[in-house]
Amino acid sequence: MDDFDRALINQYQGGFPLTSQPFLQLAEQFGCTEDKVITRIESLLADGTLTRFGPLYDVEVFGGLFVLAAIEVPENRFEEVTGIVNGFSEVAHNYARNHRLNMWFVIACEVAEQAARTITDLEGATGLKVYAFPKEEEFYINLRFEV
C-alpha cells in the first residue's frame, strides 16, 4: 500500500460522490487520471485490502432486522459448521472467537420474522443451539479506520 492507497482509504470510507463520473472527481482531487483511481480500487479489492466498495445498506430502516447470534461449536466440527452457517445467505458476517461460544455471526433479514426462522433453520442444519443476542439498545457507531 502506498501513500495514494492510504489517502484513498482514509478519505473515502464514506462520502463517495453521487455524480455521473465519481472517479473523475476523485482523480481531480488527487491529481491523477480517472483510470488510476479505478484500477487502484480494483487492485485493493483483488488483494483483499478492501472487502467491499459501494453502498452499505441498513436493512432495519426498511423493516428488516440484524441479529447477533452465537454457537458453541465442538472443535472437531468447526470447519463443517462454518460451511453450514456461511451457506445461509442471511448470515452477513461470521467470526471465530476465543470463548466457549466460539462462533459469532450476524443474521441480516429483510423481514424481521425471517430472523427467527433462520435461527430455527440454523439449529436444524447444525444440530447445535443458537444463542440469539438481538440488540435492545444501540449507541454511537464509529466505523472509520485510519491507515
Partner: protein, 172 residues
Amino acid sequence: MSQIELTELQRRLVIETQSGLPLVAKPYAQIAATLGCSEEQVLADMSLLLEKGVIRRIGLVPNHYRLGYTHNAMTVWDVDDAHASALGEKVGALAFVSHCYLRPRHLPLWPYRLFAMVHGKTEQDVEQQIACIHELLGDHCRQADRLYSSKILKKTGMRLKPKFVPLPVEKN
C-alpha cells in the same frame, strides 16, 4: 427509528448494488442501463436512500485486519440494569469503540449485557482500551470478559434475495 418502504425500483437498486458498485467511469449510468431507468433516477434514488439512512455510507470498506488492526475484541460487561443505558452512552462515545449495544443475557452461560467492540494494532493497545472502559464503568460492573476474534469466517454484508415478481413495464 422511522421506517420507510422501498419502491420496486429502489428495491432492485439495492439488489443491483449490494455487492458493490461497478468499477467503470460512469457506474450509476451502468446500473441505470441494467435496471432500465435513467442515470438521473439512480442518482436521485441513491441520494434519497442515503438521506433516509437506508444507505449508511458509500465508499471503500477496508479489511481492518489488513490495515494492521489485527487485535479485535468484543468486550462484554455485566452491568446493573438500572444504569445500563447511561453506561452504554458513555462507553459508545469513546473514540476507540466502534459499536456499542445492550443485548440480553443468557444465564448462567452468559451474564453480560453491555457489548463494546474495540480494535487495536497490538494486544497491549486493546488491553489499555479495556482498562479504560473498566475504569469508566467502575462499581457498576460486576464481571467482564473479552472475546478476541481469531478469524473472519465470512464478511459479505447484507444480501436481499430477488423476489420472483414480474418487473413493472416502464412507461415512456
